[in-house]
């Protein structure tokens, strides 16, 4: 609690060095150049986060620090300021602001789809091919000091900031500026201080990219383009964005990530191109501290902790997720955990409504375990070093800028007041230096009558009590500068008030006043002693009762990941999917993540035994067509072969857990169907709680999504102008892409065959990631899964493939596959279809539920897929429909979701059947897995039990208890004065195939 303070006259303005004088500027007055020489004496000077000097002196002249230390003699001509009892700190540095820059106009709001696509960039001039690449932007060109904003920053203790424009994926350079109020010329300390990047295309309305993976792909391609462009003299053409990109690579590279997955994503892109980004995080790094540390990236971390939710009403509070509740609880502990993890970080006020919330939030982080030294380092030396301006700011050393703050005590003590903030030798008073605690007891004399006065309360709202004889009344008190206004009602029964006006005298007050009858009187208040302080609550250790971090950080996550176990499943009905068929009363032993033995009466003393009596054991379900566990699914370039789902795995998608509960162990996360050539897919196992990279199936073959028909023609968008608009055009897209790929290969082969000497004279071909993807297909290093419906397009793609001497791997959806099953068999393509979907658009008018059965009988490797998180957890039921529609055997039906998709994904050597040596990816079912009555009781991946129906029941209880615990805490926080505004959590979108258009549920 701040004490009531009394301001005492102090005017140092006349001492201030007039730094506005600048030699090149015209003078409209007489010359007024001053030395600005100050000596700050008797202070506790914190030179940097490691060094503090007691009783020290700081000499400042012409905006620079001259000397710091104890026992320094004040030179003549230096204005001395005695700072006994005060502290001097280097002023704070925020390297993530947009201070002094024009606001970025927000891009197109609402649903950006349904209108004509903008294929070309809109930026006029010789700039990049993509509007989101704005590397040519220079903040220094637009910087203009903003006194109001500067004051807000200064009042929070900042002296200099990095300012950048938050627009685009490549955002150009930032400027490092001081927060003084001289000319822009003086404030601009470094014009090209850092280069900035993000996963946000900003104001660009260009068609591509519009997904997380697209942003990453564009960054990759731009690195390659810049390298190619820069390698040529003369340049192949002019691209001022690439020129700037090249020139700014040597600067510190700052990436805005804002969330822990994105921190890892950004770092991974940097690693590919030998760049170590400084990464702006989201304050949620504690959720994955080990992975964050492994990036080695210095972080810029905000302290914009979430506000508590409105949880008073139990029905309404259901809309608040456990993940959000837990983040509310743990966010203030984030910085402490970063420090403990040995991670380099600086702290930013970015994300706060105003910098004036900043110090309080840093102090909160300290009360959650962050050391004061680390906090100061993160606000001074670290940001200065990251920006390579540590010769100018971040410490109080000779020759550095006179950027410092004067405080009443240790900076991070709650009661400490910031008195002054000096910027380049320019003084700014925040709260007058010579303030005195006015909270005290006084002997009061009014018009000769003696009484008592007590002042208490906060400085903003002081409270007074006046006592004459034995009667005490409340007094209203107001301080303004060094003046006091005081009034009280001497007789309780009457409303007449005594009104006093006074000024400071010694440690008390005196002044004039007027009695209710109009008599003018004099009064004095002489300090007689302190008011006994109410004991502040002892500092409680706020870190003690914090909840645990969950992996993943959502409801149904766990504090610990499941261990790999030796498991012996006894006496089950085992669906092997091998020649053995279905084995009754059989044991299966899982060890070291593999299936070790299948047989009767197996034993292993080290194994945990699971009774499978009456139950069924099957291979884990594999979903060939899924869109769960990804941050984005669709980009929209006609050829988006350069985008990779694997770049944006989302480990916190609850649908991973829900799918596990449906017996699913592996999925292909496919790109959507917006483009003839879609993106590269990711094959993952549903290792719930693991990091993105650990979910991926190591060593798996690479796949890509293609798509045909209505979606790629953008049929649902009547305004679409994008090529292609017909199935004829779709064919041409493929022929063109593969033709170009062959020529690309020739060009590169020719170049690569040149001698070193010849290469010097030749022009190196441009690398093109989309075309390289095509080439991988031609060279059988990448395989196509193609979204398809009608027979004409199915035939077309097979013909194109044969023309280019490769084979389509899989047709997905393929609802008219039954019409050309013989051709598909001859081509050697697999089919992954829906059980019973039709009639939701014209191209599925002739879809029939017997499709899977016909293709299967024709010898096409056939599977049933989901394309949908809901159906993805009931794939066993969808497979069973091949019995109803087409009369397949139960074993063949089960293979539709296990062995057959394994074959399509080239994973049949490690999964898809229960066979010795394969991965221990199995599911124990309550009854026959093809029955509607079946439930997965245990879903095991790599010998780890990722889903257990009994554990799930416990989890439900734990979730409820944890919610209740935090709700109580939130309610207390609300009583404690925290604002509560938010009412509901955000819900992740459930992706489908055509999900650039989120409001459509077409497939």
């Amino acid at each position: 609690m701040k004490k009531t303070t009394l301001v005492v006259a102090l005017s140092l303005i006349f001492l201030t060095w007039n730094s506005k004088a600048q030699e090149t500027f015209p003078v409209n007055d007489v010359k007024d150049t001053r030395a600005g020489a100050h000596a700050f004496t008797n202070a506790t000077i914190v030179v940097d986060h490691q060094t503090t000097i007691q009783n020290a002196t700081l000499l400042v002249k012409s905006g620079k620090i001259e000397q710091v230390g104890a026992g320094i003699k004040v030179p003549a001509g230096y204005a001395e300021i005695d700072l006994k009892g005060k502290y001097i700190y280097p002023s704070l540095i925020d390297i993530y602001t947009s201070y002094g820059l024009p606001a970025v106009e927000s891009g197109r709001g609402g649903n950006p789809f349904g209108s004509a696509e903008q294929i070309e960039p809109k930026t006029k001039g010789a700039y990049n091919a993509n509007d989101a690449i704005r590397s040519h932007y220079q903040a220094s060109a637009e910087f203009n000091l903003n006194t109001k904003a500067a004051e807000e920053f200064r009042n929070a203790g900042f002296g200099s900031v990095l300012t950048f424009r938050a627009d685009g994926i490549a955002r150009g350079t930032s400027a490092f500026v001081s927060l003084g109020e001289n000319r822009d010329n003086k404030s601009l300390l470094k014009s090209q201080a850092a280069a900035h990047y993000s996963f946000n295309r900003g104001t660009s309305t260009q068609n591509y990219p519009r997904s997380m993976m697209g942003y990453i792909a564009l960054l990759r391609q731009t690195y390659l383009d810049a390298d190619w462009y820069g390698s040529q003299t003369p340049r192949p053409f002019s691209d001022q964005s690439l020129e700037a990109w090249i020139q700014t690579q040597k600067l510190p590279q700052i990436f805005e990530a804002n969330e822990w997955h994105n921190v890892l994503r950004a770092d991974k892109v940097g690693d590919e191109f030998g760049v170590q980004y400084i990464i702006k995080g989201g304050g949620d790094e504690y959720k994955r501290i080990d992975e964050i540390k492994a990036t080695n990236a210095p972080l810029i971390v905000p302290v914009n902790y979430p506000e508590p939710f409105e949880v008073e009403d139990p029905l309404d509070a259901m809309s608040v997720s456990l993940a959000d509740m837990k983040h509310w609880e743990l966010a203030p502990a984030n910085l402490a955990r970063l420090e403990k993890g040995g991670i380099t970080f600086s702290i930013t006020a970015n994300g706060l409504k105003s910098p004036n919330e900043f110090l309080a939030n840093v102090r909160k982080a300290i009360s959650y375990g962050l050391s004061e030294s680390a906090a100061l380092q993160a606000l001074t030396t670290t940001p200065a070093r990251l920006l390579k301006v540590d010769d100018q700011v971040g410490a109080l050393k000779k020759g550095m800028l006179a950027n410092f703050i004067i405080t009443s005590g240790k900076l991070f003590d709650e009661k400490t007041i910031l008195h002054q903030n000096w910027v380049q030798g320019q003084q700014f008073v925040i709260k007058a230096l010579d303030v005195q605690d006015a909270n005290a007891a006084y002997s009061l004399t009014v018009n000769g009558q003696a009484g008592k006065l007590e002042i208490s309360g906060d400085s903003g709202s002081p409270k007074g009590k006046v006592t004459f004889d034995t009667t005490s009344v409340d007094a209203s008190i107001r301080f303004a500068n060094d003046m006091i206004t005081l009034s009280y009602q001497p007789i309780k029964a009457k409303t007449d008030r005594v009104r006093l006006s006074g000024w400071k005298e010694g440690t008390g007050f005196r002044g004039k006043g007027q009695l209710p009858d109009g008599t003018w009187v004099t009064w004095t208040a002489v300090r007689s002693g302190d008011i006994p302080k109410k004991d502040d609550k002892p500092a409680t250790d706020l870190t003690v009762d914090l909840g645990k971090v969950l992996y993943p950080f959502v409801a149904h996550g766990s504090a610990a990941l499941p261990p790999q176990q030796t498991l012996l499943i006894k006496n089950a009905t085992v669906w092997t999917n091998e020649a053995d068929g279905v084995l009754e009363n059989t044991d299966v032993l899982l060890k070291d993540g593999k299936i070790l033995k299948i047989g009767k009466n197996l034993s292993d003393p080290s194994a945990k035994t699971i009774d499978g009596t009456g139950k069924h054991l099957t291979p884990g379900i594999i979903d060939e067509h899924s869109h769960i566990a990804a941050a984005s699914i669709n980009d929209v370039a006609s050829n988006s072969g350069m985008v990779r789902i694997g770049d944006n795995i989302d480990t916190e998608d609850i649908n991973i857990y829900r799918a596990l509960a449906g017996g699913v162990t592996a999925v292909q996360v496919l790109h959507g169907s917006a483009n003839p050539i879609g993106g590269q897919s990711a094959l993952i196992k549903l290792r719930w709680g693991e990091s993105p990279e650990k979910m991926k199936i190591a060593g798996a073959d690479q796949f890509i999504k293609f798509a045909l028909g209505e979606n790629v023609k953008r049929t649902s968008n009547a305004s679409s102008v994008r090529y292609p608009q017909t199935r004829m055009g779709v064919e041409q897209i493929y022929v063109d892409a593969f033709t170009n790929a062959r020529e690309y290969e020739k060009k590169w082969n020719f170049y690569n065959d040149l001698s070193a000497e010849q290469k010097k004279l030749a022009i190196r071909p441009r690398r093109d990631l989309a075309t390289e993807t095509m080439l991988e297909i031609l060279n059988k290093k990448r395989y196509i899964t193609c979204h398809s419906y009608v027979q004409s397009e199915i035939n077309m793609l097979m013909n194109v493939a044969e023309q280019f001497n490769f084979r389509v791997n899989t047709f997905t959806h393929i609802l008219e596959g039954y019409k050309v099953a013989d051709k598909m068999k001859a081509h050697g393509v697999a089919a992954s279809t829906f059980s019973d979907w039709w009639n939701y658009k014209w191209e599925v008018r002739y879809a029939i539920p017997y499709n899977a059965a016909i293709m299967h009988r024709e010898g096409v490797v056939t599977s049933i897929n989901s394309d949908d998180a809901e159906m993805g957890r009931r794939l066993n039921q969808e497979a069973a429909k091949t019995i109803k529609y087409g009369g397949l055997s139960e074993e063949d039906a089960l293979k539709m979701i296990t062995l057959n998709p394994a074959k399509m994904l080239h994973l049949e050597n490690q999964m898809g059947s229960i066979k010795v040596g394969k991965s221990a990816d199995v599911v124990l079912w309550s009854v026959n897995p093809l029955s509607i009555y079946a439930k997965a009781e245990k879903t095991i991946i790599d010998g780890k039990i990722y889903f257990d129906i009994e554990t799930d029941k416990l989890l439900n209880k734990e979730i409820e208890l944890e919610r209740m615990r935090i709700i109580q805490k939130m309610k207390n926080a609300k009583k404690g004065g925290s604002t509560t505004q938010r009412t509901a959590s955000s819900i992740r979108h459930q992706f489908h195939c055509e999900d650039v258009l989120f409001n459509e549920s077409e497939y």
């Binding site: 259901m318 019973d836 009639n839 939701y840 009555y933």
Partner: protein
């Protein structure tokens, strides 16, 4: 080949009449009494007769008995269906069936009229018996459907249709059975394209929207009592709600919306109310029970609303509500063609705790009651419509749900649809048979 034998009997045998038709040819009214014998009959009221005799004549059930009671079958054509199961025709509630064909094509949609308050708009008038979707439902036991307009605040008036007939007059079972009210949402969703997340925020228009409904219902309930009145089609269409001829079907999901909506309808003297949606209904189960409100769950093969929810909550919901004493009906939401999975939604309820015959009620007896047509359909009882079907096995489980015969008002309908015709055509192409 073995796998086709079943269909050779069940399906292909009937092809002669359907080969080139768009939809299976409608059949003539029942001309002679028929008796199905030997089946396990699931009456839809909880009762099962293991060796049953089910007789019907002129479209009505005349015998529902155990074979051991030796009912008189003189004059009946006896069809032995031993080893099979007989069920009452399932009812698909709240369906766009007949009003929409290919949903993505504007020309093929007749399900949403413009405007907010459309009680006068009638599904019956647009119901297209040539819709190729309709007859596919019958292969999963759905023989009756509530053709229902959607959209706006009051979407229109639904009619109860038999899934057989040359035109909508033939197909109408009961016209104009319910008015459909989409209760204003307390929360609206804001979508963020940068993060692909949606966030619910309080609906600022809620009070205004409720106020518009208040005015409409106030006027509507007064309209009927006006001595001299100028005819107003919207007001006329509302009158059935106040005299009990129509059901008010109210759509909402959140507990608070449910309470507000039901109290609202009660206040205006609506006699019959059903709640549609109700994913959050179990939180106000006591309230629903006290008010005797049946709940029509739109889609139980769905994901929970929230990541914190029990992952099986949608599957368990029918059981939870039934346990709480509420009459539950299962419905379908989403891709119209997939409504044919209705029986499996009941199957899932069994997997999550419900008794099998109790689950069956949710797709026959309970919807009939909720829609006010239980005097004629929903259960197999003498005097009720002979709308029933024969399945080779347990119809709630997809692997045994093989419908071999279906009777609608006593008429043995032609089951194979265009889909079975295509199956046949291409199986022949490849020589699979």
């Amino acid at each position: 080949m073995k796998f086709l034998i079943r269909y050779t009997f069940v399906v292909l045998g009937l092809f002669t009449t359907t080969l080139h038709a768009q939809v299976p040819v409608p059949v003539k009214p029942q001309s002679k009494p028929i008796a199905l014998t030997g089946a396990t009959a699931h009456l839809g009221n909880g009762r099962v007769i293991n060796n049953a005799v089910l007789g019907f004549d002129k479209g009505k059930l005349t015998i529902v008995a155990e074979a051991s009671s030796n009912p008189d079958l003189a004059g009946y054509e006896v069809i032995n269906v031993s080893g099979k199961h007989v069920y009452p025709g399932f009812i698909l509630p709240d369906s766009p069936l007949g009003l929409v064909e290919v949903s993505s094509i504007r020309a093929m949609n007749d399900v949403t009229e413009r405007g907010e308050l459309n009680p006068n708009v009638r599904a019956q008038a647009a119901y297209n018996t040539d819709s190729e979707m309709i007859t596919t439902m019958r292969l999963s036991g759905i023989l009756l459907a509530q053709a229902t307009p959607t959209g706006g605040r009051i979407s229109g008036t639904s009619s109860f249709m038999e899934l057989e007939g040359w035109d909508w007059e033939d197909a109408t079972h009961t016209a104009d059975i319910a008015v459909h009210l989409y209760w204003p949402a307390l929360m609206t969703s804001q979508f963020d394209f940068t993060t692909f997340t949606s966030t619910e925020v309080p609906n600022k228009e809620y009070d205004k929207e409720v106020s518009a409904l208040t005015q409409f219902f106030t006027e509507a309930s007064a309209y009927g009592k006006l001595a001299a009145r100028e005819t107003n089609l919207k007001m006329e269409a509302m009158q059935g709600l106040f005299d009990g001829k129509k059901v008010l079907m109210v759509y909402c999901n959140k507990p608070k919306e449910i309470v507000s909506a039901i109290n609202f309808a009660r206040k205006y003297g609506v006699k019959k109310i059903a709640l549609v949606g109700g994913t959050g209904s179990y939180h106000v189960a006591e309230f629903l029970k006290e008010n005797a409100i049946p709940v029509i769950l739109q889609q139980t093969h769905s994901l929970p609303d929230r990541p914190d929810d029990d992952i099986d909550l949608p599957y368990k919901l029918p059981y939870l509500l039934t346990q709480a004493g509420i009459s539950v009906t299962l419905s379908h939401d989403g891709m119209p063609a997939r409504a044919r999975n209705l029986a499996f939604y009941a199957g899932t309820a069994v997997a999550y705790g419900m008794d099998r015959e109790e689950a069956l009620k949710m797709i026959c007896a309970n919807p009939a009651k909720a829609m006010g047509v239980d005097n004629r359909v929903g259960t197999l009882e003498v005097g009720k419509d002979a709308t029933l079907f024969v399945s080779e096995g347990d119809v709630l489980d997809m692997k045994t749900c093989i419908v071999s015969q279906a009777f609608i008002a006593g008429k043995l309908v032609n089951l194979p649809t265009k889909q079975e015709e295509l199956y046949e055509r291409y199986s022949r192409k490849y020589g699979h048979k």
